[in-house]
């Protein structure tokens, strides 16, 4: 049947001519191409930890737990981020704010322990989306490599932003 699109190309397997069968001309040509790369093309790779590529604006890196304008932790340990996490990377223990701690925690309930397992995390950003308090953002760098699995479980010491007055 005639094809409607008229785009069909009939390909014939042509036997190689003597020039092509001699291999050598093609090899010489190929070596010319590689030599051009050897001499003239600059390396496209970089020496990673010293040099870094520029990330796009919506790059999702390491999480940080934010503070509000008075330097108080925003997170209220509602657990929505943990629930929304498809990789089950987040876990936390909540605690009640004691009188006198108002300058530390914004809400009456706060996360006493907050852990993200960076080996489980797929950096999808759903925790960021789920958070009602704008407390968590994936605005950090690439998570660095390490030797032990336990060192990839990041606690509040690594996640919470530095206090304002420092």
């Amino acid at each position: 049947m005639e094809a409607l699109s008229n785009k069909r190309k009939v390909l014939e397997a042509k036997p190689l001519n003597i020039w092509e069968r001699a291999y050598l001309p093609a090899i010489v040509k190929g070596m010319g191409i590689t030599l051009k790369h050897f001499l003239f093309t600059k390396a496209v790779t970089i020496s990673y930890p010293e040099q870094k590529r520029e990330f796009s604006e919506n790059f999702r890196g390491m999480h940080s737990l934010k503070r509000d304008e008075h330097g108080r932790e925003r997170c209220t340990a509602c657990g929505l981020c943990a629930l929304s996490c498809p990789a089950e990377a987040i876990t936390m223990i909540s605690a009640e704010r004691k009188p006198g701690e108002e300058n530390l925690y914004r809400e009456e309930k706060y996360a006493a322990v907050y852990e993200i397992n960076m080996l489980r995390c797929i950096f999808c950003g759903l925790c960021e989306e789920a958070c009602p308090k704008e407390a968590i953002y994936l605005d950090g760098d690439i998570v660095p490599s390490d030797y032990l699995r336990k060192d990839f479980i990041y606690g509040k010491d690594k996640l919470v932003e530095a206090p304002l007055n420092q």
């Binding site: 090899i27 390396a43 790779t45």
Partner: protein
């Protein structure tokens, strides 16, 4: 031969041995660096400035790796394999003339370990012994991939040795000697054999690629089909020896090619510069090494350009193309020699 001669020879042997090892060591570095440049990458750059200590790091790593000898292997042969491979790789350098003579006071130092009158045959013998290391290692591993790799290595070497030998015969017809020293001396100035034997050289270099198991003829260690080929079961320094033997082989075959086809230590205008003979000798050694390094670079250049041959193509090329060409080369050389004598 007096005692001084023996001591001098011993020193020369040790020096040449060390040079081959260092060149082989840095060939591994050069291979990685050159491969990187061909592929627009940076290559090893961490160990020392520009990664210059990389071979040392690699060697240390090889030594520290766990040594595994498979339970069902033939243990003695399993160890003999890599030892044989590295030994045969090293002894090839004995007959290569590294330069002319140096005069130190009254003593005349010949920069060649030994000038046997069948130098080329010796090289051939050593090269064909080299396949035993691969064969024995592959067979002793008791692993089908190793065995297949070993069989490939053996049949490939046998096929290409014929073409290589035939290409050399044409060369011997023009030079009239088997001694590498005389062959090198005959190519005075720019009278390099490659000018008289271009086809022979082409056949020889293709066969050299096959004999050293270098890409595009690296079927014995073809990763995509045979896991690792004949050294699948090897680990630690025994694997290191196999890999190292390949680089020494490359160095030696580059030296052979430079000597018999590219004039060895000769360089153009070597006697019209008006230098003393010692200086000419030293420059000659430098010229020889420049040629050797060019060939090593060439080996790597080809490796990172051309994909591997299929096995039937390899055999086709060897038996149906190179051998007839080599025979034709002999006939043409004979005719030309008769006509112009």
């Amino acid at each position: 031969m007096g005692t001084t001669d023996i001591i001098v020879k011993l020193i020369l042997i040790v020096v040449i041995f060390l040079i081959s090892l260092v060149v082989a060591m840095y060939s591994t570095y050069a291979e990685r660096k050159i491969a990187a440049f061909f592929q627009d990458r940076l290559g090893p750059s961490r160990a020392g400035p520009f990664g210059i200590l990389q071979p040392v790091a690699d060697g240390t790593k090889m030594f520290l790796k766990e040594e595994i000898i498979p339970a069902n292997s033939s243990k003695f042969l399993f160890i003999v394999g890599p030892s044989l491979a590295i030994m045969t790789a090293c002894i090839g350098s004995a007959v290569i003339p590294w330069g002319q003579t140096l005069k130190i006071g009254t003593y005349v130092l010949d920069l060649q370990v030994t000038d046997i009158n069948v130098g080329i045959l010796y090289i051939f013998g050593v090269v064909s012994l080299g396949v035993y290391g691969v064969m024995i290692g592959g067979w002793a591993s008791n692993n089908k991939y190793s065995l297949l790799g070993a069989i490939r290595a053996a049949s490939q070497n046998i096929s290409y040795e014929i073409a290589m030998g035939l290409s050399i015969i044409a060369l011997l017809m023009t030079t009239g000697t088997l001694s590498l020293k005389e062959i090198a001396a005959q190519q005075h100035g720019w009278h390099w054999n490659v000018v008289y034997q271009p086809l022979g050289f082409l056949i020889f270099i293709i066969c050299a690629f096959a004999e050293t198991n270098r890409s595009p003829f690296d079927l014995p260690e073809c990763e995509t089909e045979l896991v690792g080929g004949y050294h699948t079961e090897y680990s630690s320094m025994k694997l290191g020896f196999y890999l190292f033997a390949e680089y020494i082989n490359m160095f030696i075959s580059s030296a052979v090619m430079a000597t018999i086809y590219f004039g060895g230590y000769n360089f153009p205008f070597m006697h019209s510069l008006g230098l003393s003979s010692n200086w000419v000798t030293i420059l000659g050694v430098i010229a020889l090494f420049a040629k050797i390094f060019f060939f090593i670079f060439f080996f790597m250049w080809v490796r990172w350009t051309i994909p591997r041959f299929r096995y039937d193509q390899l055999m086709d090329l060897g038996w149906k193309t190179l051998i007839p060409l080599a025979i034709a080369n002999i006939v043409i050389t004979g005719i030309v020699m008769t006509l112009f004598k």
